[in-house]
């Protein structure tokens, strides 16, 4: 991912990406979509990363929390899985062809991307033991720290471009 830019056509975002980057991001997005798909099937999880991307809505009310899970968890997991799958699908042509590619995202697509990137960062952070402010990433994941930084840049740049698009022209 070299950069995100607001496209000439109003409301769209262009992402410039080479094949290797597209492969990495597509793979991460597919893993996230899978993780969320499985999580949506279950009432609860033993995976702290899943707990972070599908958190409780009530802190001190077990009954309300159980009801929340019953009514909302599945649909929320499915929507989040779809955000991640969208990223993977958008990257498919770039990941399967050599060279640098422009991936054009419409407004809804850019919103899916920024939300999938947020979830990817949460999962990576959890896998690397980042739980509180000041925690340094562990080396539990090979190259995880670089990926985490790359996704941080992506989050910040997508916010920059989306903010530009939201400003009245």
């Amino acid at each position: 991912m070299r950069r995100f830019e607001p496209a000439a056509q109003s409301g769209t975002v262009e992402a410039l990406v080479d094949q290797d980057e597209a492969r990495v991001l597509r793979s991460l997005a597919e893993q996230l979509a899978g993780l969320l798909g499985e999580a949506g099937e279950a009432e609860s999880s033993t995976d702290t990363a899943v707990d972070r991307i599908l958190p409780d809505a009530y802190r001190d009310d077990d009954e309300a929390q159980a009801e929340w899970r019953r009514l909302s968890r599945r649909a929320l997991a499915d929507r989040k899985s779809a955000f991640a799958q969208r990223v993977a699908d958008d990257l498919e042509p770039a990941a399967t062809n050599p060279g640098v590619h422009t991936v054009t995202l419409d407004a809804a697509g850019a919103l899916d991307w920024v939300r999938a990137v947020a979830d990817l960062r949460l999962v990576l952070a959890d896998r690397m033991g980042i739980r509180e402010d000041g925690d340094e990433p562990s080396d539990a994941l090979d190259g995880g720290s670089d990926l985490y930084g790359w996704l941080a840049w992506m989050q910040d740049d997508l916010v920059r471009v989306l903010t530009l698009l939201e400003k009245p022209q």
């Binding site: 991307i53 809505a57 929320l76 952070a125 402010d133 000041g134 989050q155 910040d156 939201e166």
Partner: protein, 103 residues
């Protein structure tokens, strides 16, 4: 001797408030966003602008409250509305909960 005319016909309730059970829909709830070490400050402020329609200053203030105080109340209203907000925050990867507003 008391001036009977000037005396209030109805005893004034000063510290007492009239208690009646509130209907569930009248109890105010709050949406709270909690600090996390992962989401960038620029992202959190943008989510507040985009989803809640906050102005730049308000969004920055709420984001800084989350960051420095560990939590911020970002909305108040009935329970159903707060559940929708919490779910939306979860879609964005923000850690949000709802609870009854302190009375």
């Amino acid at each position: 001797m008391y001036n009977m005319v000037a005396m209030p016909a109805v005893p004034l309730l000063e510290d007492e408030t009239v208690e009646r059970p509130l209907h569930a829909s009248e109890v105010p709830w709050q949406t709270i966003v909690w600090n996390d070490p992962v989401n960038l400050m620029s992202y959190v402020a943008w989510v507040f602008r985009r989803y809640f329609g906050m102005g730049e200053t308000e969004a920055e203030g709420a984001m800084m409250a989350v960051h420095t105080e560990g939590r911020a109340v970002v909305a108040q209203g009935n329970r159903e509305a707060m559940e929708r907000h919490v779910e939306a925050m979860h879609e964005y990867g923000l850690w949000a909960t709802l609870e009854k507003a302190p009375r």
